[in-house]
Amino acid sequence: MLIQTKDLKKIYTTEEVETTALNNINLEIQEGEYVAIMGPSGCGKSTLLNIMGLIDNPTSGEYHFLDKDVAKYSERKRAGLRKSNIGFVFQSFNLIDELTVFENVELPLLYLGLSAGERKKRTNEVLEHMALMPRKNHFPQQLSGGQQQRVAVARAVVARPKLILADEPTGNLDSTHGEEVMNLLGELHENGTTIVMVTHSQAYAEYSQRIIYLFDGQVVSENVQTKFKL
């Protein structure tokens, strides 16, 4: 099992108020699945994705990633797991303006300690595949939104992660570029990568095999897409 949560809770405490962002989430996601998470703004979608991605901690409950209870891991151990297994795609692309396209895509490999030659080979492969070679020496600000998100997807996959977490990956794109990103994710899924995507768009959610609906921090329904039913 890739992901399993047990009674997962996330509570934010400010001076006077307690806000429950996630309330008793019990979920299982198998390796190779493509899951969409939907729900209104503030329902806890992004918080759940951040916890799955080990960039946030649950307040209570268990989170098993690759069958290990990681909720109580030290930050160093979590970072190790994250960097070798998880790729992220965000709505706002998250590219570094000071770095070229090539360097942005190469970045996750630096953290894995691969040799320069191996890094160059893998980065060029991904750039080639995403039709970004002509842009490799450009800076993010010289690209259109669609191209920037392609670079972000390239960076997410360059380390060949088991899991891709995508938070509104098409949120800043027009429909043509949005579809292009969805097709890229679909292709990655066909090649065996597990994908969990947060989206507002019913149409894009239907690219997945299973849709999880969140409301007020709770799973209210799950829907296995008919086209994938046995």
């Binding site: 960039i55 590219l95 970045l107 993010p140 600000q141």
Partner: protein, 220 residues
Amino acid sequence: MIELRGITKYYSTGYVKTFVLRNVNLTIGEGEFVTVMGPSGAGKSTLLHILGMLDTPSEGEYFFDGQPVHAFTERQLTELHKHHIGFVFQSYHLIDDLTVTENLETPLLYKKIKGSERKALVAESLDRFHIVAKKDLFPNQLSGGQQQRVAIARALITKPRLILADEPTGNLNSKEGKEVMEMFAELNAAGTTIIQVTHSEQNAAYGRRTIRLLDGWVQP
């Protein structure tokens, strides 16, 4: 440091040319703090992108340290941009799955700087921008003002000679905005050249010279 001669930028669609900048002549000396103002669509951001070598003019000449930037190849532009220029944008552009420390370190990873020196530079930067306590947090665990401080710290960690800032306080409240402007003033006092685009007269007051653009023309 910077000299623009007859810089013009237009976009052609069919038979129509849309002008964004018209015959801009401008000299900016090392150590200046210059503000560019003007209504939306006046060409401010385009001018900043050309100055930062992220965009090329349709016509005209651009000299940086006396070198003819307009005649440079793309590779030369990339090198010049990377070695001398730091860009600060309205939105933060931090990487959400890297900690504050890691975000700061990224531009250094490409500069052939030793691990120990990188650590020292990051520590110095955390200190200077008052984000030491946040060093192991992720961007989504910070407020907007803190995120912008990290973004600025990252833009400056390689010690660029020229800072180009496009509405750097646009997403911040007035207190946070003031902090950012005071940081710029401090950097400028230490010798860094700064060119900022802003809508705010208050922010413009930190600069020593204001250039006003209207419909692509520099106003006298």
